[in-house]
């Protein structure tokens, strides 16, 4: 049993987190080395394209960890986490747009191209400040956090949970998608924000910047994972599980369930925002399609496939499914959704605890026998 007194350091003494971080850092280091050292054309060379693709997977993995935190440990099935991801992405996109400066098609020193195109003569108030990196990076955390705070406050105070909450989160992201499609919103309408040039002074189109973003995403995933692990191994994490399994009982113990839910939900939304912010410079565009309900549901499928309430399962699920998606959409694009659906059904039937459940069964078959598969048992939460 780890004995560190600080909640954030506790996971670092835990074997599963050490293994996770070790594998993650080794993988990031290996990709970096193969990209830098191997000559182009060599069989082991990792191209800049692949580096960016892997960076994208890591962003998805961070998003999946955020979803697993609220779904696996708090029992809140959010079908709208794509909204927080997209808002973080838009905050980053706004910064990148302001960095273009007068190099845009219309050459306006302040206004982004789409605003010139719409005949706007000045920058809307909510675009102010995004020329400064520190301000934009704070907004990456603050904007999704604030949305989650207001939304969560209203929902949890009224004790909306279960299916109803899932439907409302779905409606939230759908409403935001429709709103962001409108040109008058000032976020580039259906084209979104694109044509980025620099980030923090580095040219986004160079291989070294792409590698830097990939490494930054790896570090962000590691930090996000440790934060989540810190929460779920703390007493608050056990209270979350208590809220998940017996909400009324938790309330009678004197915990304010709605505040626990709100806190964890806001942390999760912020992590999703960071994932979105790292995603945008790597794919080079953010548009309202990231708000689409389908994307949010896909995230839930990653987590379910990987194994709920394990965190590392979410990472495995996100990376595997997206790798499969890349391969599949290359070979036969029309079959992808059927393949995803089939995979989901198969895993639900044969691996109710996902891929992570498979790993655990190998490790400790004796302890697993009495666990109820319908209720995810928080592994190592005993620490």
């Amino acid at each position: 049993m780890p004995t560190s007194q600080t909640w954030l350091l506790r996971p670092l003494q835990e074997r599963s987190t050490q293994i996770f971080l070790g594998v993650l850092f080794a993988a990031v280091a290996l990709v970096t080395l193969l990209h830098l050292i191997m000559p182009e054309g060599h069989a082991l060379h990792v191209s800049a394209y692949t580096v960016t693709l892997l960076g994208k997977y890591l962003c998805y993995a961070l998003l999946a960890v955020a979803v697993d935190l609220v779904w696996g440990y708090l029992g809140i099935l959010s079908l709208g986490h794509g909204a927080f991801f997209a808002i973080g992405g838009y905050a980053m996109g706004m910064y990148l747009m302001r960095q273009i400066g007068d190099r845009g098609v219309y050459g306006d020193p302040v206004l982004p191209d789409f605003m010139v195109f719409l005949n706007w003569d000045s920058l809307p108030w909510y675009w102010q400040g995004f020329d400064m990196a520190w301000f934009a990076f704070i907004m990456v955390l603050l904007a999704p956090g604030l949305l989650a705070l207001v939304f969560g406050f209203l929902a949890f105070r009224s004790r909306v949970t279960g299916v109803y909450l899932s439907i409302i989160t779905q409606a939230l992201t759908f409403a935001l998608m429709l709103a962001f499609f409108r040109n008058e919103m000032g976020f580039g309408g259906n084209n979104g924000l694109t044509d980025f040039r620099d980030i923090l002074g580095f040219n986004l189109r160079t291989d070294s910047t792409r590698l830097g973003l990939f490494i930054a995403t790896g570090i962000a995933l590691a930090i996000g994972y440790v934060i989540c692990r810190g929460i779920v191994t703390s007493k608050l994490g056990r209270v979350s599980v208590a809220c998940r399994d017996a909400e009324a009982r938790t309330r009678f113990l004197g915990y304010r369930v709605e505040r626990v839910q709100l806190f964890v939900f806001v942390v999760s939304a912020m992590l999703a925002g960071v994932a979105g912010a790292l995603y945008v410079p790597q794919v080079g565009i953010i548009n309202p399609s990231e708000f689409s309900p389908l994307f949010s549901i896909e995230v839930v499928v990653w987590v379910a496939l990987g194994g709920r309430a394990t965190l590392y399962g979410a990472v495995i699920g996100a990376i595997l499914v997206n790798y499969a998606k890349t391969v599949f959409t290359g070979v036969m694009p029309d079959a992808w959704l059927f393949a995803l659906g089939g995979l989901f059904v198969l895993v639900t039937v044969f691996l109710p605890k996902g891929i992570a459940g498979l790993l655990q069964k190998r490790q400790k078959p004796d302890e697993d026998s009495n666990a109820d598969p319908s209720k995810p048992k928080p592994q190592e939460a005993t620490a």
Binding site: S234, R238, A242, R244, L253, R256, R259, V260, N370, K375
Partner: protein, 274 residues
């Protein structure tokens, strides 16, 4: 002049200045006081002019046929249901009708549900840990550490409820009776002044019942305990003071012998069985 003296009297503590979390005031005897409480659900009177007083340290059994309002009464005390009229006081200072469920819990009223509800995914130890009387706000909970004295307290309660061997097992694997004890243990961790126990022996074996009776009687005196129970044999084995509820109000009150010889009570119970 007398008013001036009153205002300048430095020993006087104004009601509104008294700290909110002040201890329960039981100088006048009762720890729980319900007066003229009425609740109706869609026209059906679940509680009808209920008056009930529980003294500090008392072990009180509440019996009554199905639908007598026993569970509704518990709901009112713990803040889950708000009565239409009436007043509910905890000691002589805390008006429970103005407080939320977590507030009432932290004032020192613990409740055991009819159906045992423990956190099945957590271990027996963790169940007790969560129930411990500590700061239940978010950040203190996040940064909470397991101090040795907490561990001792949990082990002490584990001993009391006889689940020491199962300390690190998930509560989901416990038997029905063990879950009931764990839940009583969770109540004890809260160090409540008043324990509300809803049907503690439903579905228990004879031996389990005996153990439960021992446990509850050992608590009385230190805590006030209110037990709602159907099982007459069990009530007879622990009760000193019995209240019979019928159609939402008190039908009879007294010792078990007095109550079971009361013609009204016999009528209600036999009438139900016939």
């Amino acid at each position: 002049m007398s008013m001036f003296e009153q205002l300048t009297n430095r020993e006087r503590v104004f009601e509104f200045l008294a700290p909110e979390a002040s201890p329960v005031d039981v100088r006048h005897g009762p720890i729980l006081y319900l007066e003229d409480v009425n609740v109706s659900f869609d026209g059906f009177k679940a509680i009808n002019n209920l008056n009930l007083t529980i003294d500090d340290g008392e072990l009180r059994c509440i019996i009554g046929p199905n639908g007598a309002g026993k569970t509704t009464m518990m709901d009112i005390i713990t803040g889950k249901t708000r009565p239409d009229t009436g007043s509910v006081w905890f000691g002589s200072r805390h008006n429970l009708l103005t407080k939320s469920e977590p507030d009432i819990a932290s004032l020192g009223i613990g409740r055991k549900f009819q159906k045992p509800t423990v956190f099945e995914a957590l271990t027996v130890f963790e169940n007790l840990e969560l129930a411990m009387a500590t700061d239940k706000r978010i950040l203190p909970t996040l940064t909470a550490i397991m101090k040795p004295e907490f561990r001792d307290r949990i082990d002490e309660v584990l001993e009391m409820i006889g689940l020491k061997q199962l300390r690190d097992k998930p509560a989901g694997i416990l038997s029905h009776g063990q879950k009931q004890w764990l839940e009583i243990g969770m109540l004890l961790m809260q160090k409540p002044r008043l324990l509300l126990v809803d049907e503690p022996v439903a579905g228990m074996t004879e031996q389990e019942m005996e153990r439960t009776a021992e446990l509850l009687t050992s608590l009385a005196g230190k805590q006030s305990v209110v037990v709602v129970e159907h099982d007459m044999g069990f009530v007879r084995s622990i009760a000193r003071q019995v209240t019979v509820l019928h159609q939402g109000s008190v039908l009879a009150e007294g010792t078990m012998d007095q109550v079971s010889n009361d013609p009204e009570v016999i009528k209600v119970y036999l009438g139900e069985e016939a």
